[in-house]
Symmetry: C2
DNA sequence: TTGTATGCGTTATCAA
DNA sequence: TTGATAACGCATACAA
């Protein structure tokens, strides 16, 4: 690659001083029309492009945000990114997505790189929300907002969705549609969201006065399609008399796996088993039996996170806040028949 | 945010010169152990972080690659990104993903920003592979590799998959499994890939000596689940005698929509209609009836693209090359029963 | 082994 | 209206 040309080169070619070129770029009104034209022509001739590193060094601030996300294959995170992207766009910034792929080491590398780049702010859905690494990023001068996770202290802004409420909505819907034996499918419960959704399910259950032992917990090792299939086998293996008539899955991938297992084995949904998922990913409505699911305001999450990180970056009186959004149940054929 | 500290601050605190601090960072062996310790302590005290902008300005090169992708919700692109990410990681670089969301304006903004950032190279799946904007990026000094698209000239490196072959594999498989009336579902044919896959289908068809009018073209407005459903209605609306017994869909989303429409209306897959998709996204194997699909070496695509862009960045004798990968048919129950 | 000086490309201040 | 100059933070060549 040929070395890029600088303001100095442009100045030389246009026969003006370097300061004038800078003025053309930053305060064109102060430059006489014909010198301006000459400078602009020189820029075109040379293919001049501002060097953002130099601008940034000079300005002390960059024009980018970053979102470090856990799983680029999960549409939930890309929708969050989309919301953040729009907010960034509105503020004249670019958003870069960094895929940690659930690996702490890669997350660490990205965070370090972003801090060195002096990005204006970092949104992150961390592998471990309580990791010291996050506090260090902040200490090193870069604003951080935690997305879709919460930290045990209040040292960070965060945006999340009320998962306890989401679990409650799911199970209330099943109760409303007449079910009195329900399975909760999900795990591991090291994941806070899994715990919260189960908690919500339990509360709805006891609030309805239903016997505790009719809410069956079916644990899974992860929130994936494969685990959903295996959970399906376990549920359908229960004797007809005691078998749940509905299942609430901790996310849609589990629900899709469950659905697949049922249709493979000839069971009907919702006839033999009604299903509620969680996340309302695009494939939920596109499933063979469209899936009832709990929708989170994903773009909204991203948008708000971006706003918070910019506030932290710009407002000296910034106060950390934990924002909680309300989920919504989308009822479809997997529970309505 | 408190202003970040610089080498100068560290030097002052450690009571050494600025050059010594720099040596600690870049050639620690040249610094005596105890001054080094003192400097490192000062760094910790101050929370010192290298300023990448300044390094980059000084070095003239950055330590990042970027992948500008069309659709972050499509697992195909995120898998490509994953491959590129690994290659970048191996070269000590970071990969930023930029989501153009199929919008030319946003793509333009990202490209401009990346050029100004002087990233080492850009991988891009462009909205329009022949757009002048790409040539301008190159002219402005940033290496560019086109991913999963091809350009009509040879001015760029590109990596793609042989879609004509992919179409051929899909239809040969259907012919092998006994079908003599087949539908091709896909569109719009402004998309090169759609054209190529159809072309491959046609060649397989005529090579097998089957009558042209038994390969029905069912056009769609886009490659989405919704369009797949609507195509399903059209196909099943054909009188039983003349109806195709199998469908080859230009991508998996269409195939999933088709599958959904069929199972909704009580038709059996593959009994009433066998289905082949394209891309082998994760949800293809997770569908109610696991989907036969044409798999592209996605991570490989990304890996190779990253290698090419680095070669273009580093090798003065770089020659552009167009790399074509070979797709593979993954047979599952949607054609095998 | 450590310190000093210079320049990377840009912007802004001040003088002409 | 234009030009000269300093500064941002870092890395390096060179001097001490």
């Amino acid at each position: 690659m040929a070395k890029a040309s600088s303001v100095k080169d442009v100045a030389a070619r246009a026969g003006v001083s370097l300061g004038t070129v800078s003025n053309v770029l930053n305060r064109p009104e102060r430059v006489s029309p014909d010198t301006r034209a000459r400078v602009e022509q020189a820029m075109r001739d040379l293919g001049f492009v501002r060097n953002e590193s130099a601008r940034q060094l000079r300005a002390g601030r960059s024009r980018t945000l970053a979102y470090v996300l856990l799983d680029a294959r999960n549409p939930f995170f890309t929708d969050v990114a989309e919301g953040a992207e729009r907010a960034a766009e509105g503020a004249g910034l670019s958003l870069f997505m960094c895929h940690s792929d659930n690996r702490a080491a890669r997350e660490r590398d990205y965070l370090a790189h972003l801090v060195e780049q002096r990005v204006q702010g970092i949104l992150v859905t961390p592998v471990d929300p309580d990791a010291a690494a996050l506090a260090e990023v902040r200490r090193n001068g870069t604003p951080v907002v935690i997305v879709d996770r919460t930290r045990s202290d209040d040292e960070f802004c965060s945006v999340a969705v009320d998962d306890v409420l989401g679990g409650r909505l799911a199970v209330e819907h099943l109760i409303d549609t007449g079910h009195t034996r329900v399975a909760f499918i999900g795990g591991p419960d090291s994941i806070g969201q899994v715990r919260d959704r189960l908690e919500g399910a339990r509360r709805a259950w006891s609030d309805a006065g239903l016997p505790e032992d009719q809410l069956t917990i079916v644990p899974t090792a992860s929130l994936t399609v494969v685990e959903g299939r295996s959970a399906g086998e376990r549920v359908m293996g229960i004797s007809k008399r005691r078998r749940p008539t509905a299942a609430f899955c901790a996310n849609d991938l589990l629900a899709l796996g469950l659905l697949q297992q049922l249709s493979t084995s000839g069971a009907s949904v919702p006839g033999d088993l009604a299903i509620v998922g969680y996340d309302d990913i695009e494939y939920a409505s596109a499933a063979a039996v469209p899936l009832t699911s709990v929708r989170q305001p994903r773009q909204e999450l991203g948008r708000r996170a971006a706003e918070l990180v910019l506030d932290e970056a710009e407002d000296p009186d910034h106060v950390h806040q934990q924002v909680t959004f309300t989920p919504e149940l989308i009822a479809r054929r997997s529970t309505l028949g």
